[in-house]
């Protein structure tokens, strides 16, 4: 039902939008409308029709307002005030002029704003680059979304044990049993000497089924992808290898020899594998040639299986059917009570999310992306806070301008637009500087993030879109509060005179400064704690002497056969203290196997870690014996019949007085000694029960202890001896202490990131504090002049001025401490052996922050305190 009264009421309400209409005016218009309606009803129209028609005749608020405006106002902008202003070019010029003028008058603040934002943006830019790189992994394959890696998983001691590799018969079985799997490709790899004419290099050779080119997008430059791997002796090589072996000659049809195996004929050349692939190879040969007898063995999990699924494939459907599959093909597993299953891992997830056993290469980490993101965003936030703080702190200078603009006819929207525009301009300048900075810092960032990104990445479309988004985000983040704040200035108050109304922005300003310092202090604490943990790792006794030990990998049959002879040769040199062959290498290089000890029933088989060692192992690495004796050549039975346990093993195996007790891992033997626990893995891992056993076929490394200060000489000697024993193999070596440091690569990187972050955030926060102090000092010039006249000392004034800021920094500490403590405790929990977080760290970070804040502020304070009061009070 149409309600005429209400319709008229609404129409009237609408008229109120037009500020110039006074009540009487509106009443008059309303009575006019009613007259019109009355007339129309008299003519025979319904209420509703009459109302509509009358409004059409009399007009809406908009059209009536426009008429009113035409008659009464000589407009400046050509538009009535209630209408949103059009974009005016003339005004834009004025805005830019004002912004530039302001920037020129306040060079220091503009610099701080631009520099601060630029630092924050640089961090974000580098991060964006990094994330883009990480996310781009394996997406270059046309079928990326349909490719999965088949992995296997076993439930072991309640833990899911996942392994990236699978056995060779899996691929054909998958195709046979799952119609939704279109193709399956097996990949294996191994190191070989590749010989061509006089050149000979150790290379990692990959082997794959011929379908590899259908499943993955590895385009061939030469050769036919359909037939390139059909022949058992065919070999496809990368562009780079084509150059390396054949220079400019055509490689097709040439023969490369894999030493001690067979000849291969080059049938194709593929484009170098992009860096953002989770596995990369330079040589590809047929899988069946390589796997040989293992092609039908389910129990050898040495290969990788990738499947191409049909469109719309759901991994869940695979999970549902695989129990039947495992039962059919690997029923023996189920009989033995092993909880065994296959997992299909989406190709595009492998790089960021997969950290399982036997990965082809070590992958990235989504957690690290999170940490990086948080750090970069925090620094950007600090920079935005600076902008907000200056804008609100120097509002006095701008309120008059806003007042005048408003009086002339600017509305709130225009003022907001102007100030947002200004912040966007600053953020554009910052963006440009950030681009330059990022380009400059890219090499350093590459080392930090272990990437090799190039400058070109900065100019990719996605990156540019990201930059624009970042610029807008920063501009809006920094500018919206000042814009809202300044646009709400009342013109009458602004123009009133020198006694400006006090705006309550200082509370916000103070909280922003506190937040800035809280973030910076958080970074300082993180840096200190990581450094202290690193120190702890470096200075804690590992249970072995890691200094002056050279480690040589023994990947050569000849050398392994004559290892004792080589050791003898080496000990002839006075610079060599002792050498020992073993399977020992820091990190996860121990074997995990079932053991038996005296007193156990035969079917009880708990696990223990063990290493293959020789007679000289303990003495070479200076590992302490706590009971029994070392392996000795005087006891022939020691080879193969004796075990040495570490203290933890003694505890865990429950052997009381272990010496002389029966023990078995490989052969049954006796325990002859107990060693003090030593760290054979990183500090992230608890020292596990360990057994040492003389087992020459397990030797992998030769550890050579040398006399300090003769490294170069010894290395020359070692290489010469190595070449005597293994002329076909390049002499490789590393230093034990560096190998141990390698275990903490991620931690060291984190330390570097936090050091840089702490530096950047403190820099930006101090810049902000510096500017704020200057503004405060300026505002209080007169007050200080009077204080001085009345006899205040310079020291007193300096303290007076600095005290406020120091209080904020102290408050920031209170906020940062618990948060940083919580976060760092979490990080430290990742270590089995860790430093304790002492109060000292927190106090130190507080002192550092306070000192930086004080130095920043005191420059201004002292300058103000030293000023001659005559200068400041002259004009009063």
């Amino acid at each position: 039902m149409f309600d005429l009264e209400k319709a008229i009421r609404d129409w009237r309400k609408n008229l109120r939008r037009i500020e110039s209409f006074e009540d009487g005016y509106i009443a008059e218009l309303e009575s006019h409308l009613q007259d019109e309606i009355d007339r129309l009803i008299r003519v025979g129209l319904s209420d509703e029709e009459a109302f509509k028609k009358a409004v059409a005749i009399v007009g809406t608020a908009e059209s009536i307002g426009l008429e009113y405006y035409k008659t009464n106002v000589r407009p400046l902008a050509g538009l009535p005030s209630w209408k949103a202003s059009r974009f005016s070019l003339a005004l834009l010029r004025n805005y830019v002029k004002t912004a530039v003028r302001k920037a020129r008058y306040q060079k220091a603040y503009s610099f701080i704003n631009v520099a601060g934002l630029a630092v924050g943006m640089t961090c974000c830019l580098l991060l964006l680059l990094w994330i883009q790189d990480e996310l781009s992994y394996d997406r270059f394959h046309v079928n990326a979304g349909r490719i999965y890696r088949a992995e296997h998983a076993m439930l072991r001691e309640g833990k899911d044990f996942r392994v990236a590799s699978t056995s060779a018969p899996l691929a054909p079985a998958l195709i046979a049993e799952f119609p939704e799997i279109e193709k399956a490709v097996r990949i294996g790899d191994n190191g070989f000497w590749v010989v061509y004419r006089n050149s000979r290099f150790m290379e990692r050779i990959f082997f794959a089924d011929p379908d590899v080119f259908d499943v993955f997008s590895f385009p061939l430059i030469k050769g036919n992808p359909k037939s390139a791997l059909q022949d058992p002796n065919s070999l496809v090589i990368s562009e780079e290898m084509s150059l390396k072996y054949f220079d400019k000659e055509d490689p097709i049809g040439k023969t490369l020899t894999l030493k001690e195996w067979k000849d291969f004929k080059v049938t194709g050349v593929f484009k170098n594998i992009p860096r953002n692939s989770h596995f990369r190879f330079d040589f590809l040969a047929p899988f069946s040639t390589y796997a040989g007898r293992n092609l039908n063995r389910w129990g050898i999990y040495n290969y990788y299986t990738y499947v191409l699924t049909g469109k719309g494939f759901e991994p869940k459907s695979f999970d549902a059917k695989q129990a039947v599959f495992v039962q059919k093909y690997q029923g023996n597993m189920i009989q033995r009570g092993i909880n065994f299953r296959y997992v299909l891992q989406p190709l595009t997830r492998i790089h960021l999310y997969s950290h399982i056993h036997n990965e082809l290469e070590s992958n990235g980490d989504i957690g690290r992306i999170m940490i990086f993101s948080a750090v970069a965003l925090f620094i950007l936030l600090i920079a935005c806070f600076n902008y907000i703080n200056f804008a609100t702190a120097s509002y006095a200078a701008r309120t008059r301008e806003v007042g005048i603009r408003k009086v002339i006819g600017a509305n709130k929207k225009q003022i907001i637009g102007q100030f947002l525009g200004e912040s966007l301009l600053i953020s554009l300048l910052a963006m440009i500087s950030a681009d330059l900075l990022a380009a400059l810092l890219l090499p350093a960032f590459n080392t930090l993030s272990a990437k090799s990104m190039t400058m070109n990445a900065l100019f990719e479309a996605r990156m540019i879109a990201g930059m624009i988004a970042l610029m807008l985000l920063t501009g809006l983040l920094a500018g919206s509060y000042p814009a809202a704040f300044l646009s709400s200035v009342r013109s009458a108050a602004a123009l009133h005179g020198p006694g400006l109304p006090r705006l309550k922005a200082s509370a916000l300003r103070n909280s922003l400064v506190i937040a800035q310092f809280a973030i910076s202090i958080g970074f300082i604490i993180a840096t200190l704690i990581i450094a202290s943990q690193m120190n702890y790792i470096r200075n804690t006794n590992l249970g072995l002497d890691k200094e002056h030990v050279i480690v040589i990998p023994l990947r050569d049959e000849n050398v392994l056969k004559q290892i004792e002879a080589l050791k003898n040769e080496l000990s002839g040199n006075t610079a060599v203290v002792r050498a020992s062959a073993s399977s020992f290498f820091p990190g996860k290089h121990t074997w995990n196997q079932n053991y038996w000890r005296e007193g156990m029933s035969e079917n009880e088989y708990p696990m223990i870690r063990w290493m293959a060692v020789d007679h000289d192992f303990l003495r070479t690495l200076d590992i302490q014996l706590v009971a029994g004796r070392d392996f000795s050549r005087n006891y022939p039975s020691d080879t193969g019949g004796s075990y040495i346990l570490n203290e933890t093993a003694v505890k865990e195996t429950g052997l009381e007085s272990p010496i002389g007790k029966q023990f078995k891992i490989i052969e049954k033997g006796t325990v002859i000694g107990v060693i003090k626990d030593f760290h054979f893995d990183s500090f992230h891992q608890k020292i596990e029960p360990l057994a040492l056993y003389i087992y020459p076929s397990g030797f992998e490394y030769l550890s050579v202890r040398i006399r300090p200060g003769r490294t170069a000489q010894v290395l020359g000697f070692l290489k010469q001896k190595w070449d005597d024993f293994a002329p076909d193999r390049i002499f490789e070596y590393s230093f034990l202490d560096e190998d141990i440091d390698e275990l903490y690569k991620a931690d060291i990187r984190l330390n570097k990131i936090f050091t840089s972050a702490a530096g950047a955030s403190i820099l930006v926060a101090s810049l902000g504090l510096f500017g704020l102090a200057a503004l405060t000092a300026r505002r209080r010039t007169k007050e200080i002049g009077i204080r001085k006249v009345l006899g205040a000392s310079i020291a007193g004034i300096t303290i007076q001025l600095s005290k406020e800021f120091l209080a904020m920094v102290l408050l920031a500490n209170l906020i940062a401490w618990p948060l940083a403590y919580y976060a760092m405790e979490k990080w430290l929990q990742g270590f089995a052996y860790r430093t304790t977080v002492g109060m000292g760290t927190f106090v130190l970070s507080a002192l550092v922050a306070a000192l930086i804040a004080f130095l920043t502020v005191s420059y201004q304070s002292i300058k103000t305190a030293l000023a001659n009061p005559v200068e400041s009070l002259r004009y009063e």
């Binding site: 009443a27 218009l29 006019h32 009613q34 009399v58 008429e67 009113y68 035409k70 009464n72």
Partner: protein, 112 residues
């Protein structure tokens, strides 16, 4: 149709002439203009009131609120002395324009 400029120029004298016959209110003024011109002077309703307001400000007319028989508030306008003088001078101007035009252009062109 009367051109925009002419309309603007003639509004004031027309309103004053109508009010010469006695007080009146906005709605009625529009009706009478329509009648008198035979429809060729079609003022938009919204345009009248700003003009009335301005004329009042200039002191040419006065206004008062009267409650009509139906209980409706209406604003009635009356002409002031100043308004009378203004109308007189306007009429002189219009007449001289009219006479000049007729003298210059007679006989009048046939309207097509």
């Amino acid at each position: 149709m009367i051109s925009k400029a002419l309309m603007a120029a003639s509004t004031k004298p027309i309103i004053l002439s109508i009010l010469l016959e006695g007080e009146d209110y906005g709605y009625n003024i529009i009706q009478r203009v329509k009648e008198a011109s035979g429809g060729s002077l079609d003022w938009s309703d919204g345009m009248l009131y700003p003009v009335l307001q301005r004329m009042e400000k200039e002191g040419l007319i006065n206004s008062k609120w009267i409650i009509s028989d139906e209980g409706r508030h209406r604003k009635y306008y009356t002409i002031t002395d100043k308004g009378l003088k203004e109308l007189e001078s306007e009429m002189i101007q219009w007449r001289s324009v009219y006479e000049a035009l007729t003298r210059l252009c007679s006989p009048l062109p046939a309207a097509d």
